[in-house]
Amino acid sequence: MINQADTLFVLLSAAFVMLMTPGLAFFYGGMVRRKNILSVLMQCFVALCLLSLQWILFGYSLSFAPGNGFWGGLSWFGLNGVGAAPYAGYSATIPHQAFMVFQMMFAVITPALIIGAFAERMKFSAFLVFTLLWATFVYDPLCHWVWGEGGWLKNLGVLDFAGGIVVHTSAGIAALVTTIVIGKRRNLEHTPSPHNLPFVVLGTSLLWFGWYGFNAGSALAVNGIAVSAFIATNTAAAAAGLSWAFLEWIRNGKPTVFGIVTGSIAGLATITPASGFVTPISAIIIGIAASIVCFIAVAVTKPRFGYDDSLDAFGVHGVGGILGTLLTGVLASKVINPAGSNGLFYGNPKQLLIQLVGVVVAISYTFLATFVIYKLVDIFFRMRVSEKDELVGLDLTQHRERAYTILE
């Protein structure tokens, strides 16, 4: 039975989540050097175009068709059988296609998140092929395992409300792999400062806004769980932004704009898997934990290991996603969401173990599959641009455009 309010809510949420990809483009684009901003905007935008089509043609089927525990199969190829009638396996109150298009936006932004790891040095043609293969062979299967009907991690009882595993852990681990394999950017004595911090703030604001659709929309209905996910999302982002600013103030002497927005994003990524399962107080704890752990990952661990995760895709999204998925096993409560489970603090230590299994499986699979895909594309297309192209900048060498003029 279709509920009009639910349908409207899910469609609007899909539009919110769509806006996150351009938001991410500005979040990342402001951070790179100005000779590379267009390349980042282009990569995000082309991900939106490319993966929208992939999803309609076969991505949705691979992810959500009944299939078996490991993949959805091709029975819904080209949206065959995915129509206006609800599909009770996912939601009994909205048209099946509304669920499909909502999920499409997740499938678009997840590969786009990885861009932060190899920004300023990947060839555009190779990027296209890599993104298509990664979406098909990493995102789609993982999505099926955790969210698809009969997915084996779902059957195991893994809780992932809006994508701590499917979106953030997978993109974050892929980021770590690609940043290590592609190598550091050339001629960098130190991390370059963001060329346009206001863009980073603009991008963060769009992401924060879109995240309401991401998390609250994942309730797929206008109900108490959607409201509670909305509040948890905002609360964690606020707690994380504030605590990151204070951490910097204590450690480096000044709170920075870059810091408070990075903290907010860390909080949003971390609350994602937990958003529909936790109380507002738990959301504050999750937000603070997100800032502390991601701050250590970005400011201490990264310099120590020396990998060049240009825009901290792993340090913020990967670490946040993993942390959030584990904290869901600690702080989830059936009072908030009767369809979920209780976590460790609510007398069910087993849930933490289940979450750990989910995370370890996602990390291992993503690590291996991303590495294989990267190497394969590298053989045929060479992933990295030439040294001269990298020094001149990707905007001119990959797209023959530049973002800013000097005169006029």
């Binding site: 001629n187 001269k388 020094l391 900048g393 001119l396 060498t397 455009e401 530049r402 000097i406 005169l407």
Partner: protein, 113 residues
């Protein structure tokens, strides 16, 4: 005293700076300029329309040196900026009449370094 003005490719700035540091030349002024040399350079395309003959983006260096530093400064710039292709840029050397360090009001050779 000489004033060295060099026009170089923007992406060569890091290398030129490195060579200058090696030559013990540490005081430089850098600005971004537009210019037109012999080369056509990288063509930009906006929505499919090719634009040629654009003014190209270059970096302009200004370095004031004492005479005994002149040759090593020129060599350092050439070493850092040369690719052998058109567009590498030019170096101009001018006589410098006076130099004043504002903080101490020193003048001449003592004020340059």
């Amino acid at each position: 005293m000489k004033l060295v003005i060099a026009i170089i490719q923007p992406y060569k700035l890091e290398e030129v700076k490195e060579e200058l540091y090696k030559a013990d030349v540490n005081l430089i002024t850098v600005s971004e300029v537009l210019g037109h040399g012999r080369q056509k350079g990288v063509t930009e395309v906006y929505r499919g329309a090719r634009e040629t003959g654009n003014l190209l983006r270059k970096i302009r260096l200004e370095i004031a040196v004492n005479d005994n530093f002149l040759e090593s400064t020129i060599k350092a710039i050439v070493k850092g900026a040369k690719t052998g292709e058109t567009g590498d840029g030019k170096i101009f050397v001018l006589d410098l009449k006076e130099c004043v360090r504002i903080r101490t009001e020193e003048r001449g050779a003592a004020a340059i370094g």
